[in-house]
Every structure is written in C-alpha cells, then in structure tokens.
Amino acid sequence: MQKIGVFVCWCGSNIAATVDVSAVSEALSHEPGVVYATNYQYMCSEAGQNTIKDAIKKYGLTGIVICSCSPRMHEATFRKTAAAAGLNPYMVEIANIREQCSWIHKDMATATEKAIILGKAAIAKVHLNAPLTASQSPVVKRALVIGGGIAGIQTALDIADAGFEVDIVEKSPTIGGKMSQLDKTFPTLDCAACILTPKMVDVAQHEKIKIYSYSEVEAVKGFVGNFEVTIRKKARYVNENVCTGCGLCTEKCPQKNVPNEFNLGMDKRRAIYIPFAQAVPKVATIDANYCMKLKTGKCGLCEKICTAGAIDYSQKDQLIEQKYGAIVVATGFNPIKLDNFEEYSYSQSPDVVTSLEFERITNAAGPTSGQLLRPSDGKHPHTIVFVQCVGSRDTSGCGKPYCSKICCMYTAKHAMLTREKYPDTDVYVFYIDVRTPGKNFDEFYRRAAEEYGVHYIKGMVGKVAPKADGKLMVQASDLISNEQLHIDADMVVLATAIEPDKSARPLATMLTASMDTNDFFTEAHPKLRPVESPTAGIFLSGTCQGPKDIPETVSQAGAAAAKVIGLLAKDTLTANPCVAHSDEMMCNGCSSCEKVCPYGAITYVDKEFRMPDRTVAIRRVAVVNEAVCQGCGACTVACPSGAMDLKGFSNSQIMAEVDAICK
C-alpha cells in the first residue's frame, strides 16, 4: 500500500473562490492510502513546495497528489519538488482543479464536489504508479533554422554568436525574405535594405552558419536533441562554389520574358537570374521552367559566356541528411490571394495593386526605379485610394478572421511617403479602425493625417469599377458623414491580409508541431512560452506564429535563439520515461504493435522460454527501444493480448481513474 500525501492548492482565489479547498483536503484525507492531506495558498511557491518536501520526509510518503492548476502548467515543478525530497518524480499526480474545475464552474458546491472526484481519481492512479527512471539522450549541438527571412536570419545569428553551428534552409535562391522586398520601414522610415543587407552579409560570413538556399526540408525524424532531417537541395544548374555572382549571364540570357517574382511579376527577368543585387548567396540560378537549354536542349549561351565555368545543366536535386538538436521554424507569411475580393477589381485592372506591390513600385530597385507610376500607363497617379482590411477580420469565409496587424502602419507609411514625395497627390485611406499599439505608432499615424494631409475616412470601399478612361471609380461609404462616396482614383492600393506561408502546413506535419485553424504555429503557452512549440525541440520565430511587424519579429527571433541556446548548451537530455513496455510472457509476436508504431521503436526477438512442463519454447516477442519510443500508446490498443502497456498511463492506471470518476 502506498503512503499518499494530498496537497490542495488555493491558487490564491483562483481555486479557493469556487472550490472549498479545506473540504477537498478533508474529503481526500479519508481515501485509502492517504496519510496526509493539507491545503495551502500557493502550492507552487517556495513555502508550498517546502510543505510538500517536509511531508514527504515526515510521513515517508511514497506518492503525492497535488490538486492544483493544469499539469501542463506545473507538473514539472512538482516533480522536481518530489525529487528534491527523495521521492521518485513519477510518483506525482496532478488533479487539475483549476482550468478544468474552478475556472469553469460557478457554483461552489458543484465545483467542490467535482474537485474531490478529480482528487480521488488522481489518488486511484497514484496507487498504481511505479517509480520510473528517465533515460538520458545526447544532444546534437547544431540547430536548423527553416526560413531565411529576417526572423530566420536573426535567430541564426544569435545562435551562431553563442558558438553553435546553425544551418538555414531557405526555399528561394536567396535569403532575405519579405523584408528584402520592402522599401521603408515604419515608424522610423529607415530603408529596409540598409538595415537588412548587413545582417545578410553577417550570415554569409559567419563561420558557424551554413546556408542551404534553394532548398527545402523533405523529411524529419527523431526527437528533441536528436532530429534527423533530410534537406532537398534543388538543382539550380549553377555550381554555387564556382559562381562569382558577376551577373553577366543574367544580362545575356535570351529568355527575357520571365515574370520577376522579386517585383511580384510587375517586370521581367531572365531564365537565369540573381533575385536582387544584395542576394545572399550571390549566385545565379537557372529557372528550369523557362530555360531553353533545359527545355529543348538548344541555347547554352550562359555556359559559353560564364568565365568561371559555373553552369552545370546536368545538376540534379541533392538530398542531404543532417542531425540537429533543435529546429526553429521561421517560414514567414505571404499576402493572401485576392480571388475572393474581385469587387476591388484586382485582376481586372493593373492599377489596383496590393500593398506589397506598392512597396515594390516605390522602391528604387523596383519595376519603376522608385518612381510612383501606375502600372497601366506609366503615368503619375494623382488620386490614390488605400483600402484597409482587405481580407483581414473577415469571418464570411472569403478572407481571414484575424487582424493582420501590420496593415494600418504600413498604409500610414505609404500614404505619408506618397504625400511627402508627391504633394500634388490626393491620398484617401478607408479604414474600419486604425490600430496603432506600438512604440511611436500612433504618433506616426497622426502625423500622416495631421502633417501630411492624408484623408482618413472611416468606412469601407464597396466596389472599385475601372472606367474606360483609365480611372478607377471607387464607391465607398463614409460612416461619419453618412454618405456614399464616389471617388475617381488613378490607383487603388489594397492592404491585403497576410497568411502563413503554404509550406508551413506540410512542415508542421513533418515536425508534429501543432497549428491553429489559420495555419499559424501554436505556441506551448500563449504567454509564458511564446516562442516554443508544444513539441519539444521545435521553436517558433516570426510570423509563422502570428502576424508581426519587424521589431516584434526580431525580438521573437532572439527569444527563440535564446531557447535554442539553452537547449544546445546541455550535453544530455532527460527522456520521457513514460514509454511502452511489452510483457514478453504475454506477447504473441504478431507484429500488430510494430505496424502502428510511428517511430519504429518496436523490434522482435526470438526468445527461449522455459515452459511449466519444463520444456523450452522459442517465441517471437516484441521489444521496445525506450530511447526511440515517444509514449503515444498506439501499440497498447493494437495489441490483442494486452502484453503491451504504457508506463505512467497503464491500462490499470487509466481504469482506476475511470472507476474513481464513475463511482
């Protein structure tokens, strides 16, 4: 019989306001095996933990039950407490009487009654707990950063500066991400390239950082401290080590008609290209979809003119296997497709552009060399209408239900810069709300309205109708003056909602990291663990976790790096000891468990058994590799004979909980 101690936490008034904590400890003190029961204001406080430690020693407790907040919150804390008092940490069970009781029930009697039942269930379980010893596994001292935008760059630099090896996998030919496409940055209006380019160079020159550009993650195996990742390095038909980035080929290539993705298709590039001047690595890439040589076998001009001899038409995709201790996701965002918002005539008029396109138009390296000219006829627009919340805060199913967070600010920036450079331009901004919660943000927005004379109109555009004379008739409501406006504009700029990059979803599946319904990665705790995924060893950096502006992205990138450094600084990790275990006396060797194991943790051996009649029988039995098993329990149900069980969540433990709850 176990000697069990019960500790009921008040959590200040979080629990005690709705649960009669002394009634709970009193009721539970009469449960079989319970030798000590108490309640305390904050069990997780030092004093609370000391109470537990003292009781373990004083009463020789063999198991403890803490009635408190969710085990997801403080299970680890209380396991440490137990261990400090010499009790095996896996002899601790938590009854969740806060998130799953006091916070959801209003009536004290009901909540107290439920808390007691939850406590009894935990006691029933702890009776069947057995001390478990966690095995240790070594940590591979190398991190992988997926995505080479500003988030990935910052994370990689911070990890590398701490002395650990970092690999960046970037799917496009260069790192830099969305920030490299931006012109100025709010609220300080410094030039994006001027602050990003030095960081890109730092990455390129850092001896601890390796960039896999034009590469994607193909498969991920393993677990925290020991991930095995397969990286597909796509054929770029140019030998990266030889190419000097002189750019001659990108000028001579006869295939001139390729939409330039860096300028969002607003101008053309060649089939062999370097995305932009500051690209890292600065090497050319051949676009196999357009290259005549690769498509038809004819041409070969770039090979002829390349003095370095870097062109290699026979290059194939390469698969690289690498081990990592930690993985950082920094896959970023994209503006959404506007197919569901054709009332704004995006696909019907070239003069209706997204904000990111506007960003390129105003950028000196953009399609108009920084001149504000409208795409249709290259003329200077005199009236520009900005439409906010295009696809954001949309619950109709056409767009995204969330606020994209950055649009209010960049629209203010666009409006302000337009007015500053071209004072003869009328600028209208249609908004639902202007959201400016950030340092110097509201001041920035007010400057646009007050100093630059941008017309901010509370209301929404209902329709943009291109007219035969090239104007855009913008029909909108002005909610303050309660009228419908019709503005003849030269250009319309849509503050398009942002969404996580499409590569994030399959990546999340590979990483077994969870996502929310919008395909943003979920954090382990929304407040306290914002840069960690619930999956151990996976960290989140930048907009893959939620919409963010640059300062926020950079701080989160640094935070993710700090977490990675904390992990890589350890030599070994303690594995989860709650793993499957096969009772070989009962195992049939039927292979059902092996078939369902996602980790390949189960193997079979032929083993000799001495039978009751003294004969020896050879039987095939399952053996679990405890270092590989992650403890999901799929095998335990696949096993028809009940030979397979899960430590810490055994059949008998779960049934004991069921019994206690149903009593």
Partner: protein, 129 residues
C-alpha cells in the same frame, strides 16, 4: 419583455441575422446601389436593430428602395446579411392589416405591354402580404 424588445427579438428571428457579428465597417453601405435613395442605410439598419431603435426604420422609405440584389450580403466581411434585416423590417410593416405598400388596384396603371410577370410578382411579394 416590453413591446420594443419583443419587436427586436422578432426581427432577429425572422431575419435569422446575428447583428452582433457586425464590426461596423460600412462595406454594405459602400456597396449598396440604392444608397442615395435611402434615408437610412444598410449599416444603420444593422446597428439600429442592435440598439433596438426600430421605430424609425419602420417608417423609413429605405425598406421600399432595397433591390434585394444581395450585394451587401455578398460583400459583408462578417457574414451579417443586411438585406435580410431590411426584409424583416419591411415584413414587420406590411404584415400588419392594411399596410400593404402595393395594392392590387394600383397595378394596372403601372403596367406596360413589355413588363415581365417576374417584375409584378416580385414587387407584389416585396410590397404586399
């Protein structure tokens, strides 16, 4: 529940619209083709029903100007369906005895030889009970 609340409740039920979903962006009014002919506009219908200020709407000429073209329904980012509120308000009026907006004896003078039946039955359905 007093009469005013009952009326609001009835309009919400008949329309099936959840006015609380509205985020007051005004896109419905930005989109409405009959806007200029209306005294109260689509976004006001939604907001005034939310506030329970229904009386002015019942008297509004807007309820006979709505074209039921579903542009507001189509473009509303919150799925509010303002047209259904307008319809419910109109029904609230014309369902009362003697409140038909279009009476059978008015019809002959409105007809011309090309007017399709569709126009007559639609108008009749919209304006009369």
């Amino acid at each position: 529940m007093d009469n005013k609340e009952k009326q609001k409740e009835r309009i919400l039920r008949v329309s099936g619209v959840n006015v609380l979903k509205c985020m007051k962006c005004g896109k419905c009014s930005g989109t409405c083709p009959s806007y200029d002919e209306m005294d109260y506009h689509p976004h006001q219908f939604v907001y005034m029903v939310e506030k329970g200020e229904i009386e002015p709407l019942l008297k509004s000429k807007s309820i006979y100007k709505c074209l039921s073209c579903f542009a507001c329904v189509e473009r509303c980012p919150r799925g509010v369906e303002p047209a259904k509120i307008v319809e419910a308000i109109r029904l609230e009026v014309i369902r009362k005895q003697g409140e038909n907006h279009l009476k059978p004896n008015q019809i002959p003078q409105l007809l011309d030889e090309d007017l399709p039946q569709q126009a007559i039955v639609s108008a009749f359905r919209k304006y009369s009970k």
